[in-house]
Symmetry: C2
Subunit: 403 residues, 2 copies
DNA sequence: CGGATTTGTTTCACGGCTGCACAAAGTGAG
DNA sequence: CTCACTTTGTGCAGCCGTGAAACAAATCCG
């Protein structure tokens, strides 16, 4: 009988930012949400109510515990335990991984890891998406999007994989179209988005891992072969004008170094990847094993005892430091996160790496940037989910309303 | 007698974007403003009226001429001829320049160029600001801000000049504080902002010159000594987390090259600046003259005839191309603008430079980025003005209301 | 001169937000 | 235990910016 019933549609503009705050764990309570959003309590209340009505979060009036602070305890904001999910797929050199990921980067369900390689990307991606469809059917969760991480540069806006060497795909494979077709074939009526695995790992680390709070996050990681880089600026991936930025593998880090297929000598790629460590340490790589695993085995727990290995590590650390310093001079990040073998090199000789970066970068200040290891288990997978969540984070009401 | 009189304060939110469109010449008429803003004609009309009321633009009902198009001609939008200005100061190796700059990057008044150098930045900046105060008094224009361009990296947020070598200032000079104090001493009650000259030149080129429309603009330029870089992302300067990004002078472009004071060999700085050209061409530089002028004189009009010079030019072009390719791989810009000697090198051997960049960058596509020369006369000076205009462009109503 | 077309103007409505007043829920001192 | 105090949630009035729609104005074209 009340004249104005649905007047609760307040707070549409702040919905996206609010959801992002909860998603990244920066708004555990409604009071924090209010201050972080910079709005009034009334607005924050309307926004929280709306997000709860959308089934994305829960608002719990009971406080977290004895907060210890004075005043009325604030309502807790949690991600809805039975809320919607997105489908995340990561293709890597040895196979693929599939998972359903909820808000907050939480992996809700995982398919058994598959260790299959196939020169036809449609087969691999099709299998992965089919596994995802099974997961969705088994869990009964609503799916809002899908993301795919591939170990290759992905050109935008076409969505083609330019150098999918690790997975033996043809260069220029139209992974975006393939992914979309596979989703349609599996009956998952959501849009799919693709990205480079290191880029997506950086995004995941920024949202949920060691990159939280960084404004200019640089991420560098080795896969089995070669080096990838990524930059997250103000919370958004910077992929350049055509998706090809942060191709840092061919920065020259040792003028007298190995010859690279690119024509130059001493590229970061050939000087600091797993094969480089094996070769420098005088170990013949076993082609049946992953170079990354072999290199990590060589490093062992902490500092390797063997002098030859130790010297090889120091050489790689120096080369990596030179490369990072160059990136610091160009990009001036406020934090650096290392993954893959680079993460292990950091663990093996943290002080040496930091001092090389500081010495080789122009300003002591920019060179003293913190260098941290990755902190998430499956950061590329979670990053693929972030890609899928993005439309929801940008405009929750519209993204939830479409179907 | 009308009940609602001052109801014209509509359109505050779109005010900034609208002014920016007029400022950059992208909204010559009200109809274009409407489509560019993506709002209704009513909103665009209110916005235009408001900007006119603020004295920033004029709305002329008479069309530009015989437009040739059908329908009612749209009202012209012009920058107010007697509108407010900002004070722009550029300090360079030989002295300083002072100007009053209106919207649209138009230089309204200029003080006579001063050719004085002084190891005390406060003296130089003080003289320049005093000259600016005279200009303001003589023209009677309202001043809304002040910008200063210096030939040095400027650390943010402190505003210290880290390497003001060209001007013989002490490293770490607090140019921001000095500028602010000088403005106060001269009775110009506006905030001052400082920036690196190449950064500001890039900003000016993006707003009013060869960089218009670019989303990822890379700018590289030589001064008298050394190389500077700048990146304009989506219309905003990217200066990194501490203002120190795009320090591209020490990218390694020739492993067998000259020793650099940074400790490495073959840095872009020592391989492609004016002194490098003179040295490579076998010319002894005259310390009394500017190295840039001497290098340009060597190049002459177009292609130099002398074989030794020609060879030197090709070597520098190759080195520059290697450096640009490295930046392309890291930043993936959609356009490159060259200034200083690099601009002259581009003019002397455009095809060679473009092919080197394409060959040395990883993807043919990203390597085929357009490379253009600077197109503005005093781009650092205009860029300093852009810095000062920024608060007005962000929120015209507030910026105009303060005094 | 009269459609056709495009643009400027007026009016109305509405959605998102702020500001304010008040209620609710805790802490801490006596 | 009670009462001040602090902090947070909620309801209500109102403002401000924008969109939608109808109308008026200005030019081209036949």
């Amino acid at each position: 009988m009340t004249p104005t019933r649905i007047k609760l549609d307040r707070g549409r503009g702040a919905l996206g930012p609010a959801l992002e705050l909860v998603h990244t764990g920066r708004a555990p309570t409604r009071a924090v949400l209010t201050t972080e959003l910079g709005v009034t309590r009334a607005t924050a209340g309307a926004v929280a109510t709306e997000l709860q009505a959308l089934g994305l979060i829960t608002v719990d009036p009971r406080p977290h515990a004895a907060s210890g602070a004075q005043g009325r305890p604030s309502h807790r904001l949690d991600i809805a335990a039975d809320g919607p999910v997105v489908l995340a797929v990561q293709v890597h050199a040895d196979g693929y991984r599939v998972a359903l990921v909820g808000l907050g980067g939480r992996i809700v369900a995982t398919a058994p890891a598959c260790m299959t390689v196939d020169a036809d990307p449609a087969r691999i991606i099709g299998d992965a998406v089919a596994a995802g469809a099974e997961l969705l059917a088994a869990t009964g969760r609503r799916c809002l999007g899908a993301g795919l991480a591939v170990p290759s540069a992905v050109a935008e806006p076409e969505g083609t994989a330019l150098n999918p060497l690790h997975v033996a795909w043809p260069a220029g494979a139209r992974v975006h179209d393939i992914f979309r077709d596979c989703l349609a074939a599996a009956g998952i009526g959501v849009p799919g988005r693709c990205g480079n695995d290191v880029n997506l790992a950086a995004l995941a680390e920024h949202r949920h891992g060691a990159g939280q709070g960084s404004q200019h996050l640089l991420c560098v990681a080795t896969g089995h072969r070669g080096v990838g880089g990524a930059l997250v600026l103000d919370g958004r991936l910077h992929t350049g004008s055509a998706g090809l930025a942060l191709e840092v593998g061919h920065l020259i880090v040792d003028p007298a170094g190995r010859a690279c297929h690119c024509g130059a000598r001493g590229c970061l790629d050939v000087e600091t990847d797993p094969l480089a460590l094996l070769e420098t340490a005088g170990v013949t790589p076993d082609p049946a094993l992953s170079p990354l695993d072999q290199a990590r085995a060589l490093l062992g727990e902490g500092h390797p005892a063997e002098p030859g290995t130790r010297q090889a590590v120091e050489q790689l650390v120096d080369r990596l430091g030179q490369g990072l310093a160059t990136m610091v001079n160009v990009l001036n990040p406020d934090r650096i996160i290392l993954g893959g073998l680079h993460q292990s090199l950091l663990a093996a000789a943290p002080e040496r790496l930091r001092s090389v970066v500081a010495d080789r970068s122009l300003w002591g200040r920019s060179g003293s940037v913190p260098i941290l290891p990755c902190s998430l288990g499956h950061n590329s997978l979670v990053g693929a989910a972030e890609l899928a969540w993005q439309p929801v984070l940008d405009d929750p009401a519209t993204a939830l309303a479409v179907r």
